[in-house]
Amino acid sequence: MSVIRGTQSNKKRVEIRKKTLWRSIWKERFTYLIIAPAFLSYLIFFFYPIGFAFVTSFTRFDAFQIQALPNIFDNYHRAIVRDPLAKTSLLNVFKYVVITLGVGQSCALILALALNSLKRGTAFYRTVYYFPMITSVVTIATIFRWLFGSDPSAPINTILRLLFDMEPIRWLWESKLVIPIIAVIAIWCGLGFNTIIWMAGLKAIPPEYYEVARIDGASNWRQFWSITLPLLKPVMLFQVVMGFIGGMKEFGLPFVLTQGGPAGASTTPVLLVYQYGFQNLQMGYASALAFLLAFLLIIASLVQFRIYGKSEAYD
């Protein structure tokens, strides 16, 4: 008996809870109204497209016409096994990310350290370094397309000849040089932004740590390795994850500079998605490529979070 009575009262309790839930939802109807645009937008422009892309990535979807594939994994098979450009594009962005993270972030950190120990004029240099960041990719790529021209009279070839008597180099037309050059341009662009992030990280370190270390007689070098770097770990995690994701999705610079050339030596996954999807209208295959990239990015960022410690570091 008591058991039955117990369930009955449970039912009642659930009902009451439901009622109060509805009542509190109704009470907050204005709140739901003001968040509605954001979620409506996500439904239409994010979740639905992702579902659609997922479905079409298993079909032949050429020029707006969906057809079944003989093997539903054919697009993925093509991307992973048969299409050499897909592999090249991935290798290209890997190279690009390694250079922009390794060289670019070290430069930005060194600059941040230098700016941090500057007594006057920090704001001035910060402004100067940030300059390329506000300029559009079209402008930047066009300047550098000219500076890195392959002609002997192109500015950088001229500088190298005048200073070091070097033979002209074909820069963006050399398949081995094109990715490093694009990476250098990206480093040049992002230097100001990255320096600001590192500086914010440096400012967050309590100065007492350095005072104690100085009293204990630790050298500047020692202070850097034992205090600064370990305490910059959260910033480092942020920079690595963001730099990795951003770099893997690079599109603008190679698109304007080289269109992926010479012979695919500077093609990137997003550029490939663009070329297959919007120029060749092979949308099913392009969707499969986009999903593989998304999958890779999610896995990679999860792994990076694991390596660099728990999420407390990110907060």
């Binding site: 907050e28 709140t31 497209p49 007594k119 300029t135 066009t142 942020f238 304007v256």
Partner: protein
């Protein structure tokens, strides 16, 4: 004599001098980097002002301005961009107008809508708040590039492809804006809102009359980032509004610069001898508004970066 040299070595060893020397070294290094950052811009400006028929193919480097010739800046407004509609108004100027229209709708619309949503997540308690907030988070992890193709197909079906709606509608709300503004709004004391409610203000009045004016710093920072993002966006217009009449400034600029081939020498000439000058003038003019805005609002930009970069 010995006293003098002694003071000299003492001075050399002194902490002050070392500090001063270190500072000077820092200035030298930082200025050197600054030179590398600014040189391309400087060279572009100098080149845009060169005299007609200046030989850009000469094998020496002129670092100094040789003339102050504004012909390129005038010509850019009558230059036809390959692929553009044959119109009396220049494609670049037309792009300016189009971009300004996009800026007005997207900056105002998205700042307002994101501020509303930010208020809900900062100051209201409602069933499903945590869940809905984590739904927003998912969109950060998944790269938006996946949605490009389906959005293209969708806009094609609805007939919005090639209209500005295809750019405006998806940009009207965004996680970045909601986070940035929410962060700021949660610092506004609840007592203030309570007081307004006791005075009989409706929720809508509380948001628009009280919270939004207080959150202006955050909203302005967001508006600034949005302005720069929309101004410099190439991929969006390239995919969704790639029609000559609807070209944004960046798209017009892209087609304009794409017609310049540098690899066969930079200076095969037009009749007035200002082909390269016109190109550089176009690049500079299109960047001027952003540079101006950056110079005026750079403090907000920097604080915005550190806020979203580290605490987002």
């Amino acid at each position: 004599m010995t006293i003098l040299s002694q003071t000299k070595t003492e001075l050399f060893k002194s902490w002050r001098f070392q500090q001063g020397f270190g500072q000077i070294l820092l200035y030298v290094i930082l200025s050197f980097v600054g030179f590398f950052i600014l040189f391309p811009f400087y060279y572009m400006v100098v080149s845009s002002l060169r005299e007609p028929f200046y030989n850009f193919d000469r094998l020496t480097l002129d670092l100094l301005p040789s003339a102050f010739n504004l012909a390129g800046y005038i010509k850019i407004f009558s230059t036809q961009v390959p692929g553009a509609e044959a119109k009396s108004i220049s494609a670049l100027l037309h792009g300016f107008v189009n971009t300004l229209f996009l800026e007005a709708t997207i900056v105002i619309g998205s700042t307002f809508l994101n501020a509303l949503a930010a208020y809900a997540f900062a100051k209201r308690e409602f069933p499903g708040k945590q869940f809905l907030f984590s739904v927003l988070l998912v969109t950060i992890i998944l790269p938006g590039e996946v949605t490009l193709l389906p959005k293209y197909v969708m806009f094609h079906k609805v007939g919005l492809l090639g209209t500005f709606w295809a750019l405006i509608l998806p940009s009207l709300t965004g996680v970045f804006g909601i986070f940035l503004i929410r962060q700021f709004m949660s610092t506004i004391p609840d007592a203030l809102l309570e007081a307004a409610r006791l005075d009989g203000a409706s929720e809508f009045q509380v948001v628009t009359r009280l919270v939004m004016p207080l959150a202006i710093p955050a909203m302005a920072t967001y508006a600034l980032f949005t302005f720069l993002g929309v101004w410099n966006d190439l991929m969006g217009p390239l995919i969704f509004v790639n029609k000559p009449g609807k070209w944004t400034l960046q798209l017009a600029l892209y087609y304009f610069t794409a017609s310049y081939t540098f690899q066969y020498g930079s200076a095969y000439q037009d009749s007035e001898g200002i082909r390269m000058q016109t190109l550089f003038a176009g690049l500079i003019i299109s960047a001027l508004p952003t540079i101006l805005i950056f110079v005026i609002f750079q403090r907000q930009l920097v604080s915005g970066i550190t806020l979203t970069g580290l605490k987002g």
